[in-house]
Amino acid sequence: MKEIRLHGRGGQGIVKSAEVIVYAAVQEGKFVACFPYFGFEKKGGPVSAFVRIDNKKIREKNQVYFPHCIIVLDPTIMGATDVFQGAREDCVLVINARSVDSLDIPDQITTITYIDATALSEELLGRKVPNTVMLGAYAKATGWTDVEKLAGRAGEIWGEKNRDAVLRGYSDVTVIRRGEV
């Protein structure tokens, strides 16, 4: 089983992104489940979402504490939440950031992936909604979910521009694999 934890703020489409991953993975014949944790439904509040992907039925109905992948839609959340908590060995980080130079990333995160999804979403969509760009980045970083299926679903929900945003996230993301030269 792969466990994914997403961090962001209300209004950034974090819950919907998790649902798009679930939808895409179900189309691939996998068992998947996600659920969010948020406070009162309002824009700007911290939101987490938890996704599990497996080849058999998902039974767990609890939050993800030991993620194989951490997706950070809003780096400002890092002041309030320890997004790296419980990261497994060989964990994949996908972060919405221009650079990761100033971040103190724990050693067990061996794949570091970053993209300025806020700027790219503004360019592509005219709005600062980073979630679809981040879905593409996630697909590239992990290889766990087919990017075409993610893009297709994003297009169905939000229109063609968001479909393109997923694909741009996939093509434009920077991937650093620690331990490789």
């Binding site: 649902e19 679930v22 939808y23 179900v26 068992f31 998947v32 489940a33 969010p36 039974r59 109905k61």
Partner: protein, 396 residues
């Protein structure tokens, strides 16, 4: 072939209700139930079904509308949560004592105060003695399937009682997963049109319903109501088996079990936390601990005989409650199990409380509960006078 959709628990509930072709739906929005009614209403707006939708000014009115509609012969459905259910209490009781086969989903949410919107079955469990059938489910497929079964149970001539399908707020209402949608033709065959025979408001045949009734008659009605609850035990099982035959999915009926056959120790659960408990049991089994799960599905009627049967000969058991019974210092289903066992209880039975107000019940906390049960079975831990609280950060 059944269609595979990707939906959250609220959406699964709406799809299940839709398959049953209700005539009237009246509901008032409340977190976390709101999307359920939104999804249902969207399907009606899109022309999926001819159904009257009413959005009255309160839950009290919503249930009152359904009572009128049910008395007029309609199949009726609604949903609510916590404070909404509290506001509905007066017509809630009347629905059952008038023997109206209304189906209402309760998207379980903790009761205030302090202010909370998150999950927990304190709302529905607190009204378990109001005469409704209450069934608690574990995942989204079970939500959809039980909404289909609920009408069949409610409308059965030996039952004629309203039914609550109860599922955890957020943990299920907002959890998205793949769900199979039963074929409409098969549901139509499984659940024929509702044709009331006992009571029906009809201008052609005027009838007075619910007049002022002296105690002797009221007592007789209560006796019949209790008998209907007893009948429901058999009907819930029959409907489960018939559904399983048609759709290939069985939930066990009044209870479900997991790795219980050879178990020395039993973890008794209800609702979505059962899924996490299954994982905790698998880990314990890997370490050689013979533990299994007894999952309570029907709380009203309470499966007393099955609880006795499944606990017989075990070394120890424990009940995990995501709710409290003030004044007893334990959870509500613990008391139910204790009552069911009565004089037959010859093992330690431990009360656990955790996961209140949407607090996460982790695999580690459920493993801790198993450890307590095993220790009690080995005589190293006595049955406490107060609940053992499962608190994150205190796993050791």
């Amino acid at each position: 072939m059944e269609k595979l959709v990707v939906v959250d628990g609220n959406h699964a509930a709406a799809l299940g209700a839709l398959l049953c072709r209700p005539d009237v739906v009246a509901a008032y929005p409340i977190t976390p139930q709101t999307p359920l009614v939104e999804h249902f209403t969207q399907y009606i707006a899109d022309g999926a079904l001819d159904c009257a939708i009413l959005e009255p000014e309160s839950e009290h009115s919503a249930m009152s509308i359904l009572e009128g509609a049910s008395l007029a012969g309609g199949r009726t459905f609604t949903a609510t949560s916590s404070q909404g259910l509290a506001l509905m209490y007066e017509p809630y009781f009347r629905a059952s004592t008038m023997r109206l086969p209304i189906v209402m989903d309760i998207v379980n949410r903790e009761m205030i105060s302090p202010q909370t919107i998150w999950g927990g079955p304190q709302d529905s469990l607190s009204v378990r003695d109001a005469g409704w059938i209450q069934i608690y489910v574990e995942d989204n497929q079970e939500i959809l399937d039980m909404n289909v079964q609920a009408f069949k149970i409610a409308e059965h001539k030996d039952v004629l009682l309203p039914v609550n399908i109860c599922f955890d707020g957020f943990y299920l209402s907002h959890m998205t997963e793949g769900v199979l949608v039963c074929e409409q033709e098969k549901v139509d065959a499984f659940l024929p049109k509702y044709l009331p025979e006992h009571v029906k408001l009809d201008p052609e045949r005027p009838m007075a319903v619910d007049p002022l009734t002296p105690g002797a008659y009221l007592q007789y009605y209560r006796e019949l109501h209790m008998q209907a609850m007893d009948n429901a035990k058999k009907v819930i099982q029959q409907v489960n088996d018939e559904f399983a035959q048609l759709f290939g999915r069985s939930y066990g009926g009044l209870v479900d079990t997991y790795r219980l056959e050879d178990a020395d120790y039993v973890l008794i659960t209800m609702g979505s936390l059962t899924g996490t408990a299954r994982v905790a049991v698998d880990y314990a089994r890997q370490k050689g601990v013979k533990v299994g799960i007894l999952k309570l599905r029907s709380i009203r009627p309470f499966p007393k005989e099955l609880v006795q049967q499944y606990l017989k000969g075990r070394k120890a058991a424990g009940v995990v409650d995501r709710n409290v019974s003030f004044g007893w210092h334990c959870g509500i289903t613990y008391l139910e199990v204790l009552s069911a066992m009565g004089g037959a209880l010859n093992m330690p039975l431990l009360p656990f409380i955790g996961g209140l107000g949407g607090e996460d019940l982790t695999i580690e906390l459920l493993a801790k509960a198993i450890d307590y049960i095993v220790a009690a079975g080995k005589g190293r831990y006595n049955t406490p006078q107060q609940a053992i609280w499962l608190v994150k950060g205190e796993e050791e």
